[in-house]
């Protein structure tokens, strides 16, 4: 049998490893299907799909930052919820005082960055255990947000700000192709946003082109090329999912601006974690800190940068959150750290550091979002939501640990 043939055939072992690799993706689909039945199909309404993205924008952004921290060795940031609230509060108060929104957004980001540097300093250079340093931050910034807002809620009325950062009624990309060609309608008669559909299709084509080029690149440089069949299946599934998502979005109001921000953040950090020195250093530090240090990498600086970026992203989540809720309140952002941490672990990040990916974060954040929203639509009380979230988090880690034990061939004595 020639090599070419063997590589294009799927053996039983391949199928098993495929399931193992995409376990969480399959679980995500199962959960989505479950909620679809439990809510009589309401969970997959175009409006609900749109809300799913808009409401959980902060999970994507925070989980991205949390991934960086977790990669460095299972370190976490418990302060993000308070930082989101604090940054949002500062911005909302500024806009309330008629300071132009770009300045307010800039200050929010700078606030997040400074807080990140502050925590990073203690964690990386003074070696304060991360959970303690960020626990202190969690208390302090929650208190400070109350101080900044004086215990009041502030609302933001600047529609430009709201539209750009995904809040209010019009935070969608308008259909610039509305007048071009015939009007398109979905099965139930809703007018489709053509621009949104076109973007979705272009995006899918882009993925196909990238996959083909990537395979060509691998072959040219004599790297191991994955089996053709599995590549085709994988690409097809992703493309179908993307087109379906954009179809759903187009049946509501089009692309929510929050989605663009999520896409930018995820894209940027997918690049940073996989292609840049800093990104690879994060994995190295988490895999074996001592070896990394001895090979000449400044591990303290890597740690510092991880927390600085986390702070910046928390500041940005504060911006998105302020827009989403059309204002700020001293109670916002409570429990966000849990959502972010849970999203990372559900997405396969190791609690001991060194493994995890942005792709996983997307799946984890979607899982949290689907669960949150599904239970909302079912009318489950917020108390049960907490219980379910806790159990999902535990299950995800449990699963991760069990998988690793199997791989090692038994429990270490």
């Amino acid at each position: 049998m020639s090599d070419e043939l063997r590589s294009t055939r799927l053996s039983g072992a391949d199928v098993a490893s495929f399931f193992k690799k995409y376990m969480m993706l399959i679980a995500l689909m199962a959960v989505a299907v479950f909620f679809n039945f439990a809510t009589d199909g309401r969970a997959l309404y175009a409006q609900n799909i749109t809300n799913l993205i808009a409401q959980n924008a902060y999970v994507f952004v925070l989980a991205t930052g949390m991934l960086l921290c977790i990669l460095t060795g299972g370190n976490i940031d418990l302060a993000v919820g308070s930082v989101v609230c604090f940054a949002g509060g500062v911005g909302a108060v500024m806009m309330d005082k008629n300071i132009p929104w770009p300045a307010a957004v800039l200050i929010m980001l700078v606030m997040g960055l400074l807080i990140g540097m502050w925590q990073g300093f203690w964690i990386a250079f003074v070696k304060v255990p991360p959970f303690i340093a960020t626990l202190a931050g969690m208390l302090a910034f929650r208190g400070l947000s109350n101080v900044v807002m004086g215990g009041y809620a502030y609302s933001v009325t600047n529609t430009t700000f709201l539209n750009i950062f995904g809040g209010g009624a019009d935070c969608y990309i308008p259909d610039i192709l509305a007048g071009v060609g015939p009007e398109m309608k979905a099965g139930d008669g809703t007018v489709l946003n053509k621009f949104c559909l076109v973007v979705g299709i272009l995006f899918a084509i882009g993925i196909v082109v990238y996959t083909i080029l990537h395979r060509a690149y691998l072959r040219k440089h004599d790297y191991k090329v994955p089996a053709l069949v599995s590549t085709i299946i994988k690409t097809a599934i992703i493309c179908v999912a993307v087109v379906w998502l954009f179809y759903k979005l187009s049946a509501y109001k089009g692309i929510p601006t929050a989605l663009i921000w999520i896409g930018l953040v995820l894209g940027l950090f997918a690049y940073i974690t996989t292609k840049t020195t800093l990104g690879r250093n994060l994995y190295a530090v988490g895999g074996n800190e001592k070896a990394t240090r001895l090979s000449g990498i400044n591990t303290k600086m890597v740690m510092f940068k991880a927390y600085t970026l986390m702070g910046l992203l928390a500041g940005f989540a504060g911006v998105l959150n302020t827009a989403r809720f059309v204002g700020a309140q001293p109670t916002y952002g409570m429990g966000y750290e849990m959502d972010a941490i849970a999203a990372c672990f559900i997405g396969g990040a190791s609690a001991y550091g060194g493994t995890g990916s942005i792709g996983g974060v997307i799946i984890g954040a979607l899982m949290m979002g689907v669960i949150n929203q599904g239970m909302d639509i079912m009318g489950t009380s917020s108390n049960y939501k907490l219980v379910v979230k806790g159990l999902v988090l535990l299950l995800a880690v449990f699963f991760d640990v069990i998988m690793k034990m199997r791989k090692k061939g038994g429990v270490k004595a």
């Binding site: 976490i76 626990l135 302090a140 208190g143 609690a351 939501k385 907490l386 159990l391 535990l394």
Partner: protein, 391 residues
């Protein structure tokens, strides 16, 4: 090297000195109102849970800087459960106590198993509990009551965890309290001198006579002051007995028993401990089982103090317990720490909280100060260790 030179004694007792300085600061800023019998009682009753949870957290932290984030939520959950069992189902007090204790043990066993035997990082396992128990506790309370609280707890249960022993009206001297105080002073002095005599007899390095006398006088003064204040305010608070008993038991376990020393060994160097035949997993398991049981006691104290189970009970308790340990000099990396240090940390937190409330500082700034104190304590700990390492 003289371990008992003035400089070394001061260095060893930095936190006690800090506590006195802070206390005097608040006496001045509150115009002396913190230095009154009712505030002494308040200091103990409001912070009893910190001592109890701190003892549990200490055992967890000793094993390697591990923590339990779920204690606050579990306090809420157990409170709700106790309410359902003893108020709504009218179960008698001993049986209700037994039921909540068993629930606590079950949670402790599960948590200990996940952490010790499945190697799930403690903060993740307890984070799950932090979420789940807050949700479950709130759900129970909102289901059974429109105000999300259960009150009207039976008198025997309240009496076990709140109120005063042999209560007398405020302002009159409470005789049992004074007797207890005198006994405590005598006991402390006798123990101090006996411990020195034992050390001298066995040829260990013993503190000089003057040091023992000074220490005894200082302790006698503190106990005397507390006795005087409690006697004027109606007697010894019941929770004080719980706190003292738990402190004494855990101090004994940590300092004098094999299992207690194992906690330190595992935290000091897990691999060495394992190779020298200690079952690390059992030690870890015991730490979390113990934590859950103490959480049940803390929960009952808090419930009895408010005479109700509330959905917001226990919020941030985990922070208070962790802060008490860290401020009390327990290493954030495990392996070192004492019950006495933790108790000083808990008292310091209590004084800061009470002082700030009396000064009328608002809740938000209090949070900021708490966070700042926690961070300062760790940094102080790390820096002093680094300096002593250099020498």
């Amino acid at each position: 090297m003289n371990n008992y030179s003035l400089k070394n004694v001061l260095k060893k007792n930095t936190m006690i000195i800090v506590m006195f300085v802070v206390y005097i600061f608040f006496v001045i800023t509150t115009n002396g109102s913190i230095f009154s019998p009712s505030q002494f009682t308040a200091l103990i009753t409001q912070n009893a849970y910190v001592f109890v949870l701190g003892a549990g957290m200490l055992m967890c932290m000793l094993t390697g800087g591990n923590i339990d984030l779920s204690v606050g939520s579990f306090v809420c959950f157990i409170g709700a459960l106790a309410g359902v069992v003893s108020v709504l189902k009218q179960v008698n007090t001993p049986l209700s106590l037994l039921i909540v204790l068993i629930i606590g043990i079950i949670y402790g066993v599960i948590l200990g198993y996940l952490i010790a035997f499945l190697n799930i990082p403690p903060w993740i396992a307890t984070l799950a509990g932090y979420l789940a128990f807050r949700g479950a506790g709130t759900e129970i309370l909102t289901k059974v009551s429109t105000t999300s609280a259960i009150s009207n707890f039976p008198e025997p249960l309240l009496a076990m965890f709140s109120g005063k022993v042999f209560e007398t009206p405020t302002g009159t001297f409470n005789i049992p309290c004074i007797i207890a105080g005198v006994i405590a002073i005598v006991a402390v002095i006798v123990l101090n001198f006996k411990s020195r005599a034992d050390k001298v007899k066995k040829g260990y390095e013993a503190p000089p006579q003057g040091y023992v006398i000074a220490k005894s006088v200082a302790l006698a003064l503190v106990i005397g002051l507390l006795t005087y204040m409690f006697a004027l305010d109606g007697g010894i608070p019941v929770v004080l007995i719980w706190v003292v008993a738990i402190m004494l038991i855990y101090n004994f376990v940590c300092e004098k028993t094999v299992i207690g020393r194992h906690f330190m060994t595992v935290g000091g160097n897990g691999e060495t401990a394992r190779l020298s035949g200690i079952n690390n997993k059992i030690v870890m398991f015991a730490a979390y089982l113990n934590m859950s049981i103490l959480t049940v006691i803390a929960s009952l104290m808090v419930t009895a103090r408010f005479k109700a189970a509330n959905s917001f009970a226990g919020q941030n308790f985990e922070m208070d317990a962790i802060s008490a340990c860290i401020i009390g000099g327990v290493s954030a990396y495990g392996g070192s720490g004492t019950v006495f240090g933790m108790a000083i940390g808990a008292a310091l937190i209590g004084i800061i909280n009470l002082g700030m409330s009396l000064m009328g500082i608002d809740q938000n700034w209090q949070k900021v100060v708490k966070g700042g104190v926690l961070l300062a304590a760790v940094v102080f700990d790390i820096w002093t260790k680094r300096n002593s390492g250099k020498k």
